[in-house]
Symmetry: C2
Subunit: 317 residues, 2 copies
């Protein structure tokens, strides 16, 4: 088994090129995507692979510009809103089974933010379609740990082996997606109950807000469904130290089991590629903030810390 | 007095454009700089303003390519090394008083890193010249705080009013530059003694390693000397909680006085622009890591957290 360095783990998830690292490479890579636009803002809000542009049942209400390589809702006489047009288009694609990823339809909306006061309110999109349009998406990840006589130990769940995405991989203690209208902290409270059976009172009093981890991921086959999808993601990160008698229990069928592991055991599993790739980034950020990973013991420290906080390509507020 | 938002504070220091935010603007901005190269690595290691390229006394041992807009040491028959050539050139510029910033000559070397195993060992450059060549530079910043009955209070120094750069501005409790060969943690120990009279034992036992803050700054007149210089900087950040009886004392003539301020007092001073701009970024990172700034109370949270950790444009390890 090839052992991965921490920088390898970062490269695997934050795997869309940086312009500064090679202008031609960046431009070549991006040339296989079209820009997704909305009325009300002149800049792109997502990147769609060209093959997905060709397969999407756009109908007559979208403007496709083959020269500029942009997709944008046209003037909206026939549908009530841009959001409604996106919904109708994705439902049609789902019903005609055009895309694998739409088999995971969730009836859950993800927000698309424009700079303040531009786009009509906030436009939302079915979560399963967000990766097809390549919009920014937002999640929460919490690392729950215990101080023991053997040092810090971290609660690590194993994902159910039959999960469509990353089945059997190790995960962060609590993780989930932030829907339209949901506050990140409230999302984390909800996910803590759903995924680990942590009581709300415990989480409200003990969880600490610690920042974000962000990256741009180009999807590969481990995620299930189509590959090459453009996924800029921001994870709101939280830490929670709990006493030894607080034990997470799976509360849905998404988690198979929780392990209580030392930092060394977690690092070994990471190096062996056992952890869901984006979760490795959240753990690296945890190790940085807790002084476990330092400039003195990690040769790629400076690069890693910045790569864990990539500026997302589209507006975020 | 105009009140600055936290994003304003970030924009003021991380003020070099992002390619993704506007490709033409980025390219226009960069077109007034030349690339600084070394033998042994094909990519740039710094950006030099065109007017500085014109004024620098390069002599015959550098290769200037007016088409590619690059500056690079030529083949080195006449000087012992690239480092020696840089030193001789900067000394000549200093002695002939070509640049204001070289009046602050320090006899202190800053490292230039290439990717591992490329450039002959590490090449170093006089600190005062680093901003002229636009190389990555590295520092340490520590936030020292006390838990009191009124909540957390932070030790904030005021820089001596006669300092050449940012005289009279507020600063981080301890801050300094990391020289060639110095480990960041050891640098922070040294600066803690020099700037705040903190005993080494105290700092070694109490200081916590917490990551980095990084940005690309285009220098304005508050920094003293020439403006428009390209300064990519990485600050290694540390926190230290101390008991109420540990009081910092200025130990050189760089600090005028230390204040012990509540978070609100520090935030007010930041919003009023009283704090040295890059120090404001370190404090924002501190507020993020301590859950003082959150997605719920700061509308620009997601953007701010990523902007505090910009990927530097040149190799870092």
């Amino acid at each position: 088994m090839a052992i991965k360095t921490n920088l390898d783990l970062v490269n695997e998830t934050d795997n869309f090129p940086y312009y500064e690292d090679g202008r031609e490479n960046y431009t070549d890579f991006l040339s296989s995507y079209w820009e997704f636009h909305l009325q009300g803002w002149s800049k792109p809000l997502g990147y769609i692979p060209e093959w997905a542009v060709e397969k999407m049942p756009w109908g007559d209400l979208w403007e496709l510009d083959t020269k500029k390589r942009t997709v944008k809702p046209g003037r909206l006489e026939s549908v009530p809103s841009q959001e409604e047009l996106i919904r109708a288009t994705l439902e049609k694609a789902r019903d005609s089974k055009v895309f694998e990823v739409l088999k995971g339809w969730r009836n859950e909306l993800y927000p698309i933010f424009g700079p303040r006061n531009t786009i009509e309110n906030i436009v939302s999109m079915e979560r399963a379609g967000s990766a097809l349009f390549g919009i920014n998406s937002y999640g929460v990840h919490m690392t729950v740990y215990v101080q023991t006589e053997e040092g810090m130990k971290i609660w690590v769940p194993r994902r159910a082996r039959n999960k469509q995405t990353y089945g059997g991989y190790l995960d962060n203690t609590v993780a989930g997606g932030v829907s339209t209208g949901e506050k990140p902290f409230e999302c984390m409270i909800r996910e803590s109950a759903e995924e680990a059976s942590f009581p709300e009172d415990l989480v409200r009093s003990k969880a600490k807000v610690c920042g974000t981890v962000s990256y741009i991921h180009i999807r590969d086959k481990r995620a299930g469904g189509e590959t090459g999808l453009f996924q800029p993601e921001c994870q709101h990160v939280y830490d929670m130290e709990v006493p030894a008698d607080v034990v997470p229990k799976p509360n849905d069928n998404e988690v198979e089991e929780f392990y209580l592991w030392t930092v060394e055991e977690v690092q070994k599993a990471m190096a062996e590629g056992q952890i869901k790739p984006n979760c490795a980034l959240v753990l690296l950020d945890f190790f940085v903030r807790h002084g476990i990973l330092t400039a003195e013991n990690e040769p790629d420290y400076v690069e890693i810390v910045s790569r864990l906080h990539r500026k997302l390509p589209f507006p975020t507020s």
